[in-house]
């Protein structure tokens, strides 16, 4: 990056370290932090949406829809999330390719799954093997987002379902007494009022989401864990910057990153909780009201 880094073998001490930490590979390492943050920021709203759908489905009057909702909300309780992280991307990928196989491939008798292989014609591959590398990376990231959204959507559905049940019955009855329909009660009373009950759970979910992001590594996305292992591994003399096994230091840097993210989130979420508690018929709201008078 800097001009004096042209010949690393001549450097020593601090300038060696400075050049080392600004090498091209390290720049990709730093970029991968933004990939992780982007994943969190994309997954959070999508998972919230999934959770919303799941919670509303679990409250539905139509029985099959309710069963689906209940099943979705309780799936993360019995099955480790890591199984979903491994399963969903591969399953999604094969489902999409199978759909395209039905559409674009010439009809053939050969079954798609046979001899321990998944066979679709080249035109059905996603992304096409001829497309540039960036498409492959974006596609992998997209599958990761779906996997995270499904798992965290189920957690969020759990939280929101509980929060909807926690809204005092009297408030809903009052709305009904004013002549509102079920949909109106839901839209005007239930959903606005449930947030204060949902927030502790959703805050915790955000913290869990932060701590689940290193699992991106398992999905084959070149994330911070991938780069930490790559850069920290022993580099022999054939490399520009030879060094022994430094993986411990790289992982300690990741540890500091995650602890920092957790701490910052805790502070922000604490403030948000305080704001949402204002004027609520809860202990926190009551305490705030007393403090003001």
């Amino acid at each position: 990056m800097f001009s004096n880094c042209a010949d690393p073998s001549q450097l020593e001490g601090l300038s060696w370290l400075l050049c080392y930490l600004t090498s091209g590979k390290h720049m990709m390492f730093y970029t991968s932090f933004f990939v992780v943050i982007a994943l969190m920021l994309i997954v959070a709203p999508v998972a919230l949406l999934f959770g919303f759908g799941g919670a509303l489905a679990a409250r539905a009057h139509f029985a099959p829809l309710r069963w689906f909702g209940k099943g979705y909300t309780s799936m993360v309780r019995g099955v480790p999330d890591i199984i979903f992280f491994l399963f969903v991307p591969v399953a999604m990928d094969q489902a999409l390719e199978y759909l395209r196989y039905k559409m674009v491939c010439p009809p053939s008798d050969a079954p798609v799954w046979s001899n321990n292989e998944f066979n679709v014609c080249a035109a059905a591959k996603l992304p096409l093997s001829s497309s540039p590398q960036i498409y492959h990376e974006v596609y992998g990231f997209f599958l990761a987002v779906i996997a995270f959204a499904i798992v965290f959507g189920a957690f969020a559905a759990n939280v929101l379902y509980g929060a909807m049940n926690a809204v005092p019955r009297a408030q809903l009855e009052t709305a009904e007494a004013y002549g509102m329909s079920t949909a109106q009660v839901r839209r005007r009373i239930l959903i606005p009022q449930m947030w204060t009950y949902a927030l502790p759970g959703l805050s915790n979910l955000w913290l869990i989401l932060i701590k689940a992001t290193p699992l991106l590594f398992l999905l084959g996305v070149p994330d911070i864990v991938y780069w930490a292992r790559e850069l920290g591994a022993t580099k022999s003399q054939i490399y520009d910057y030879p060094h022994p096994d430094w993986r411990l230091w790289y992982f300690l840097a990741l540890l500091v990153f995650y602890l920092g993210m957790t701490r910052i989130s805790e502070i922000i979420l604490g403030r948000l909780t305080a704001r949402l508690a204002q004027g609520q018929a809860t202990m926190a709201g009551e305490a705030m009201r007393k403090a003001q008078t």
Binding site: R77, G78, P80
Partner: protein, 276 residues
């Protein structure tokens, strides 16, 4: 049917080194997949049960330390809990594995006695250590919350009886803490068992391909390019494991609550706020 029994005999204990050495090849039968993934579950149970047992004691000590007025006790406990609860388990596995690798190969001589260290890097010891520390931190936070929620009246009653120190803690504070913490602790136990699936994906090598349930599930899914059989089998085993856990913890919960009138007994139900 008989071939399936033969498969169970060959691979039922494969994950702990008994039976057939070579993993199945070619086409995989359902029986082989069920047997091997079930065999891997032994490791999940091993990690889960032992780290929970050891962690329980340490977590109680940590919770008491965090609630103590002495900063020399409180601060280290707070930092320990923050570090292990604030960072991903996956990263903790990597870091502690790298630390254990740094231990001298030949062992450490302490007071003339040679202590071997090379076993520490194997999964059965190293990963157990990480899971133990991790669950201690999470459980300590749960116990700490419960400790602070012990009713003032209970403590005053203990004082009135002239109880102090250890007797008061052992006979009044601790049982109530446990009772209040139990629903949340059940949750923690369930998610700890789920977390044991991370072990063989995080640096710890699966010696001679002896891995846990998810390790074998991934093995089959990778070999057959078909995720729709192996992963649901693993999921099935984990649902069974979770149901067993809920039953056992429910029995303990009933025992902890047995002195209370029925309507005041705490029920075990999911608390999404305290998912780890």
């Amino acid at each position: 049917m008989n071939t399936c029994l033969q498969t169970i005999a060959d691979y039922g204990l494969r994950s702990i080194g008994f039976g057939e050495r070579v993993l199945p090849r070619g086409t995989f039968t359902l029986c082989e997949q069920f047997t091997l993934i079930g065999s891997g579950l032994i490791w999940n149970v091993y990690f889960g049960v032992l780290s929970l047992l050891f962690g329980f004691g340490f977590a109680t000590a940590l919770a008491v330390a965090k609630a103590s007025g002495n900063p020399w006790l409180r601060k280290p406990a707070e930092w320990f809990i923050f570090i292990f609860r604030g960072s991903p388990l996956f990263i903790q596995f990597f870091i502690i594995y790298e630390m254990l690798v740094l231990l001298p190969r030949g062992g450490i001589t302490l007071g003339g006695i040679l202590i071997a260290t090379n076993w520490m890097t194997s999964a059965w010891a190293g990963a157990l250590l990480v899971l133990f520390l991790n669950t201690s931190a999470y459980s300590a936070e749960i116990f700490y919350g419960a400790l602070r929620a012990v009713p003032k009246g209970d403590i005053e009653a203990a004082d009135a009886y002239g109880m102090t120190g250890w007797a008061k803690f052992r006979r009044v504070i601790w049982p109530t803490t446990l009772r209040l913490a139990w629903p949340a602790y059940t949750n923690e136990a369930i998610f700890l068992f789920h977390a044991t699936t991370l072990v063989f994906f995080s640096g710890f090598p699966a010696f001679q391909q002896r891995g846990d349930a998810l390790y074998y599930a991934k093995f089959f899914a990778d070999k057959t390019f078909n995720p729709f059989i192996a992963y649901p089998i693993a999921a099935f085993y984990f649902i069974l494991l979770t149901l067993t856990l809920i039953t056992v913890f429910g029995m303990i919960n009933r025992r902890l609550n047995r002195h209370l009138p029925a309507e005041r007994r705490a029920k075990l139900r999911i608390r999404p706020q305290i998912v780890r």
